[in-house]
Structure formats: C-alpha cells, structure tokens
Amino acid sequence: MIRAVPNPKPQPAGPTDAALVVAARAGESWAQEALYRRYARMVNGLAYRLLGRDADVDDLVQDTFVEALKNLHRLEAPAAFGSWLGSIVVRTASKRLRTRSLLTRLGLRRLAPIDADSVMSSRAPPDITSELRAIYSVLDPLHHEARNALVLHRVEGMSMPEVAATMGVSLSTAKRRLAVAERALLSLSEVKEPVP
C-alpha cells in the first residue's frame, strides 16, 4: 500500500515500532527517545515486578534501554521490538538478582524481605491480594531463574511458550523452572491455586 502522510515527525498515533527502529538504527535520536517513551512504562513495570522493590528499578530500566538501543542491529524483526525489549529486561534483571544473591551470601549486602503490601496496589481485591502476597513472599529465596519464571507466568500472565521465549530457553526448561517456584508456593498454607 502506498500512502503519503504529512509531517515526517512522529504523530500522536506514532510511527510503527519498525519505523522507529529503522530510524534509530540510522542514528536518529528522536527515534531512540520515541522508543523509550513508548516502552518506558512497560519496562518500568516489568522491572518492578521482577525485582519486587522500587530500589534498583531505575538502574535496571536504564541498563535495559542502553543495551537495546546499542544493539538494535541485532534485532532481526524491527516490528518485534517490544517483545525483544522484554527479553532484555528479564535477562538484565537476572544478572542483578544473581549479583544481589551472591553479595547476600557473602554477607556483603543485607536485604530486607519484600514487603508485598507495599508492592501491590491498595485497590487490589482480596483474592488478588492473597495471591500476590504469596508470590512475593517466596521470591527472594528462589533461584533467579525460577523467580523470573514465576513472575512472568503468574504475575505477567504469560503463557508458558511466552515465558520460554522471553527467557530465551526451551519450553521444557521454562516449565522446570516454574515447577520449582510452584512447589515453593504450594508449601504455603494460604496460597491460591495457580492457573496454567
């Protein structure tokens, strides 16, 4: 389809992700910022839910966008920028969680447990509240891979194929990781039954 549109600058409805990626690859700073503005809330939200705390969210978001914008040439499908960015968030969060866990084990860092009530919205209905409390209460002791699988599947609502794709692993590996987390959840007496 051929169509001419006025004003080469982005409109409120905006150019497509693919168009922004193409322009950003060419060094157009407005396109880089447009990609950031378009996905900042998504990335901030995902980072927050993966980390379970507001501390470190800003650093994680910045690391994610810097990596993404520096490596746009690796993105084979420009239209899939959003899901690709999500994978980078998860990978970057894993690195942070791994480092944090190591520092904690070495006694170099002490982290207060996640306060689930401060993490979630006050308008959450009771069943949601209990489920989120259960999930966030088991996150810290979990290995970062199991933790991410649990957040992506239960909190983000991703299907297992999506979880696997986002984590960059096979479906069976994603399921194994989730199974570890689900077993931790089921050990809690007040846990709500997970939905596949």
Binding site: A26, G27, S29, Q32, E33, N44, S159
Partner: protein
C-alpha cells in the same frame, strides 16, 4: 467483575514525568555519540571500489567539495560521510550506510542506496533526471532534498522516503505501475517480505559486505540481494555496477531466507492476523484481540500460528472475557491443531479447569485424566489433582 484479573495490573511502580525524564537523560548520556545525533563529519580514510572489484573502500576527504567518481561504492563507518557529485548534488550518508554511483551523465544521474540511510540534496538542473534506487523502489527528483532509509531484516526489507524540500516521485520497481509524488513534509514507507523458498542459483546476485562492525548473526540475515542487473539491459541510459561479489553459496545452493531478485511478496494473511492480534492483546484491547485470533483459527486452521492463536483465544476468553464455554471450544481447537504438542499441557490443564468452573464434573474429570496420564509429573498436576475428584 469489571476489575482486571491480571495480577500485574496491581503491581505498578510510581512513575512521574520527572522520573521518566531523568531516566531518559541518564540513558542518553550512556549512548554512543554516533547513536545520539548524527553529525556531518568527514571520513578519516576513504577509497573507491569500481565495477569489477570485490572490495569496498573508504572515501577520503579534503577541504571543501570533492566529487565522487562514477561506478564507485561508498560506505560509511561509525561516522557519517558527506560527498558531492560532479553535477552539484550532495549525498549525506548516515553512519553504517552504503551508496553506489551507477551512472552520471549530463542528462541523468543514478545512484543506489544499498544499506542504511542517506539524504540527497539534488541541485537544480534543467532536463536532468536524478534518481535513487533502494530495494524495491526508485525515487526520481529535481531540485529536491529527500532522505531514504533502508533497513534489512530476516523477514524482509523496510524502505522509507522523506521529502524535506521540493518534490519527488516514488515508484516501485517490481512491475507495479503505481507511482506517487511526495512533496515537502511528506513521507512514504514500505515493507517487503522475503519469499520463504530459496531462489534458484542462476537468478540470484549476491553482494557481500567487505567490512562490517555488526555481529555475525545479523550479517548472515541482512546480506542484501540486488535485483537490478536484469533490468539494466532494458534501461538505455543506465549502466549497472556489478555488485562486489563473493557469492554466498552453500553446497551449490543459495543460503536460505534470501530475497528473490525482482519478486516482491507480502507477509501471509495468517501471520498478519497473528501479529495484529498480539499487538491488540498487549495493548489491552482484549475483545479485538479475541476477534482476530478467532478469525485466524477459522480462516487458516492449517497455518502454523493457528494452534497458538486458539490457545491464546482460550486464555483470553477464560481469564478476561468470562466466556468459559468459548474457552472450552478454543482449548479443544488448540489441542486438535497442536500437532507438535507445544501447548497441549497448558491447554489440557486449562480445559479441565474451565469444565470445573462450568460445573461439568464429567468433562472436567475426563480432561484431568487425559492430563495426568500424559503428564503425571507435569507443572499443573498438583492443581488438577484437587479438582473434580
């Protein structure tokens, strides 16, 4: 009932405009300079590649304006490159871009943008045709300033034309007669998908990058295939540059996922529907997403995306639309279409839960037994064990 069921809706950070601005400010500080803003600079070293050569050289600049030689190939590295043609027009190459000078004569100038983006400032000359080819399109201009951006990806190529001054005609070179005239402030873009089948060896012309700073993975996917040489014989005033070649042939056949010369195809309707449905779902437009998934499954049941579309439809109906009967139907379809068993475990578990919520104990039990027989230690085994006893 109107409250969203997705847990993530209730776990959101506090985001103010100031916080977002501060994040972007720090991100911008960490990006490489060439990424942040293109600055027109002169290349540090340069050379020329001629028609029969296999190497791309850098163009070296001195002061003021120098003309680029005809039949040469110019490629920019991390810095942009600016050059002037003998007839006065200017080309400003963005970083990591490449332009070829196909023909330069009194009556016509022809270039080809084979990679990246460039701005072309066409000097006013009466009775002179200035054209730039890029992928499937050609831009013809007089006394114009326009930019072309070409991006190659695994599935196809994207070309965008922006006119910054004057006017330019844009036409497709794949046989379609449609042409449009863009004026100042207008832009046009197209995405051309590659065909899946590998082209015949004798129809393919290869161009290989002599130097590249990119990762090997993208190199393999993004090597452009030029489709021009066949047409050169039909255009009396054009002389084609033979692309630098090191033919990429594996076992006598071209590598997979290369574009066919002179042929343009669109993404399949099923894939277009699937992409639109995913976009709608992620944007929170759930009813629209459900309708698109349903349309895909109905119209293209044999497409490779149909099984996943049915599964996603089932999830949407179950979790958000409170349509349990519709969810059952969709999960049944997903199980029928999912010959690879990729979603069978999740679909079976959800099928059992949906029946349970409908109060259909017999169907719940049947689905549960199917699941437990197939996946005795599956992820959902513990959950299902407590349902419809």
């Amino acid at each position: 009932m109107n409250e969203p069921r997705k847990l993530s809706s209730y776990v959101e950070p506090e985001l103010t405009g100031a916080r977002l601005d501060a994040q972007w400010s720090r991100i911008g500080e960490r990006l490489p300079v060439s990424n942040r803003k293109p600055r027109w600079q002169f290349a540090a070293a340069a050379g020329f590649a001629f028609a029969a050569t296999a190497a791309v050289l850098w163009l070296q600049y001195g002061p003021a304006r120098h003309s680029a030689w005809e039949s040469s190939v110019v490629r920019s590295d991390e810095a942009p490159v600016e050059l002037t043609l003998a007839e006065g027009s200017r080309v400003e190459l963005s970083p990591r871009s490449q332009v070829e000078f196909l023909h330069s004569a009194e009556g016509s100038v022809q270039l080809r943008l084979s990679e990246g983006s460039a701005r072309f400032s066409v000097s006013e000359r009466a009775a002179r045709r200035f054209s730039v080819r890029s992928g499937p399109i050609e831009v013809v201009a007089t006394d114009t300033q326009f930019r072309i951006v070409r991006s190659l990806a695994a599935e196809g190529e994207h070309v965008r034309v922006e006119v910054q001054a004057g006017s330019a005609d844009v036409r497709r070179r794949d046989g379609e007669a449609t042409a449009i005239t863009l004026v100042q402030g207008e832009h046009w873009s197209t995405f051309v998908a590659y065909e899946k089948a590998a082209p015949a060896l004798d129809e393919v012309t290869r161009m290989k990058r002599a130097t590249s700073a990119r990762a090997a993975t993208t190199d393999q996917a993004d090597v452009p295939v030029e489709d021009d040489t066949a047409r050169a014989t039909s255009e009396s005033d054009a002389r084609e540059v033979t692309p630098e070649v090191t033919p990429e042939v594996i076992n006598g056949q071209p590598a997979a996922r290369r574009p066919q010369r002179g042929r343009v195809v669109q993404a399949s309707p099923a894939h277009q529907l699937f992409d639109r449905a995913n976009i709608a779902r992620r944007a929170g437009q759930v009813p629209e997403a459900a309708a698109l998934y349903a349309e895909l499954v109905q119209r293209f049941p044999r497409d490779q995306t149909a099984a996943l579309a049915a599964f996603e439809l089932g999830r949407i109906r179950m979790d958000t639309l409170s349509d349990l009967r519709g969810a059952v139907q969709a999960f049944d379809q997903a199980l029928t279409l999912d010959s690879g068993r990729a979603f069978a475990e999740d679909a079976l578990a959800r099928l059992a839960l949906a029946h349970d919520k409908l109060g259909d104990a017999a169907s719940c039990k049947r689905a549960k037994e199917r699941y437990l027989k197939r996946y005795p230690e599956g992820v959902h085994a513990n959950v299902l064990a407590r349902r419809c006893p």
